[in-house]
Structures are given as C-alpha cells and as structure tokens.
Symmetry: C2
Subunit: 191 residues, 2 copies
C-alpha cells in the first residue's frame, strides 16, 4: 500500500528506502496470530508471500474484515496510530513471508517528516483510500445480498475464492459456512 506512492511523491523516496530497510523479514506457518485482539499494535506488516486476514471475535463468532495477499501492507490502524488496544486480530491463513516494520521506526519517520507537505499529502491520500475502501465494504454489506456478494467476490477477486478456506469467506460475506454452501449449491444447480 505505502509503496504505490513512490511515483506520486518521488521526493520521499530516500526516506521510504531508509526506513523500509529497517524491516525484518520473517516466515510464519499457517494460522499464526501476528496481533491478538486486545493487544496494542506494534508493527506494520507487508506481505511478501502468502496471505493474512484481519478479523475479530463477534460474540463468539469469528468475523473476517479483510484479506491481504502478496505486496499488500496492513496494520491494525487505529491501534497503531493511537496506541490503544486493537479491535482486530491479524492472522496468517497460508504459511507466509512477512516484512515487519516496528512502530518505533514508523514514529521516527513521523517525527522527521512532521513538517514535510509531500509526506503529509501522502498520508492524506492513504487515509482517503482506506476510507473509500471501507465505505464500499459498508455499502456492499447493506445493499447486496450474500449471493450477490459472493458472485461479485468470485468475479472481482477470484484469487480470494481460490486460496481462502470457505468458512473464512463465509465470515467475510457475513453469513455462516452452511449458508455459503447452500448458495454455492444453488449457483451450480442454476447452471
């Protein structure tokens, strides 16, 4: 995510490179928890290989909010930014290779670039992108039926349907895995 801003704000490249060099490259097995709900986020993660999910415990039900694949970055943003307990858990789905950027490094960067308009504008852009993303997730949950959401997922992001176990997809669509089974059954019978 951060990295797509290299072209838009080339003046920041020396900074990105200097700070990104401070990441650690770590291998995790499948179903490893990188950040547990309730703990304060200490790191920003970048996926070199594998896949993660952002999720939370919803009255005992596991709910997935977002999936992350190769070349995508993430953190439990609110927790990361405000130093408060995370609402979310971050967990690997597949065995994964992750670049871990400690918050201390990020904060140094914040301090150094605190007055740099290009850096601030990059943050604004990042923030608006995220806002846009969540707004769309929000609207899709409201306006689309589970069937529509599933068909849309299959069409727009087939890699998710291929690589992610079905019960995580169900928890992402906001339904039970039983119901997702029914939906798939219905689709295949229609064809």
């Amino acid at each position: 995510m951060l990295f797509s801003f290299k072209e838009r704000f080339p003046s920041l490249n020396p900074y990105w490179e200097r700070y990104m060099a401070l990441q650690k490259r770590v291998e995790y097995p499948a179903r490893t928890i990188l950040l547990k709900e309730g703990k304060t986020a200490q790191n920003y993660y970048f996926v070199e290989q594998g896949c993660l999910r952002l999720c939370f415990d919803n009255n005992g039900k596991d709910t997935t909010v977002q999936f992350f694949f190769e070349n995508e970055g993430l953190a439990s943003l609110e927790s990361f930014r405000k130093d408060i307990p995370s609402i979310f858990t971050i967990e690997t789905i597949e065995p994964s290779i992750i670049h871990v950027l400690p918050k201390t490094v990020f904060n140094e960067m914040l301090r150094e670039l605190d007055q740099n308009p290009d850096f601030l504008k990059a943050l604004i852009d990042i923030s608006f992108e995220r806002q846009h993303h969540y707004m769309n997730e929000f609207l899709s949950r409201i306006r689309d039926t589970p069937l529509e959401r599933y068909l849309n997922l299959r069409k727009e992001r087939p890699h998710i349907v291929k690589r992610v176990p079905q019960h995580y997809i169900a928890s992402y669509l906001g339904i039970t895995s039983v119901h997702l089974s029914r939906i798939k059954n219905k689709i295949s019978r229609k064809k």
Copy 2:
C-alpha cells in the same frame, strides 16, 4: 466538524474565518433535497438549525447512512473531493437553516494552504475521525442485532430517536419500519 479544529490549529484561524465568511445562509423546508444521488457535490453544508440525513436508494429501498443536527457539517465527501457523481442524497428532515460553502471557495482554500503543514495535519485529523466513525458504523452493523442497535441509539443519541421519523430510523438501523415497530413493542412489553 471543521470547527472543532480551531483550538488544535489556531494558526489556521485567520483562514477559517476568511473562508467561512463566504458561506451563504439559506432556509429550507422539510424534505428538501440539497444534493441528489448522481449529481456532483457542489457544496459543503453546515447545520445552524434543523436536521438533515445522508441516504441512498438501495434497489428501491431508501437507506439512511447518517443524521446531522445543529453545529454539524457534511458533504458527500467522495463526490466533493474527486468531482464524481455522488452515491448519496442529502435531504432535510425538519425545516432547516443551512450554511452553504461552495466547493470553489473550498478549493481556493486548498490551493492557498497546499503547503501548510498545520492545514494538512488538520485534514489528516478530519479524515481519521471520519474513518473511525465509519469503521464503527460498519462494525455495529455486523456485530449488533437490530434490537441492540436500537437500544444503543436510544441511549447514546436520544435526540435522534426523538426528532427523526421512525421509518428513517428503521432505514438507518438496516431494517423495515414494520420490524422496528415489532422491536419497540417487544421492549415496551418487557418493561
């Protein structure tokens, strides 16, 4: 919303005041559409008196996303910022007195303050606040039942329940007005 930043970024006060002076003060009757879904947002609105809602047509069903009361400001942000057709409609609920800030004025402000770190930081703060707000709306829709959401609304924002017609509240809670009636009935029988 913008106005709570006066204390945090006092250096910007001369700008706020200069630009805010360019607003128009307008009275609208109830059920007046200020921005129609599909049109591009031309204004930022600030409520002096009355109440508005942000909503959209959801396959024929009217869905309310947010309510705005006295001293709150709003725009169809994506449309306003990116000059694209608005996903949302903005409509008065009660007869209202609204301060209207044209986008042209806002854009002048953007240009003038484009390199001002305090201004950029104020935008970042505003953006994060909105993100936080929508994240919570999103989570509440997922994790809470309509009953819980209604009880919570009644407790946390009783003015909404008092001033807003019930079918708008239902559309905000994500249920039909019939179902909201049932919920209210159930609550009153329990007491």
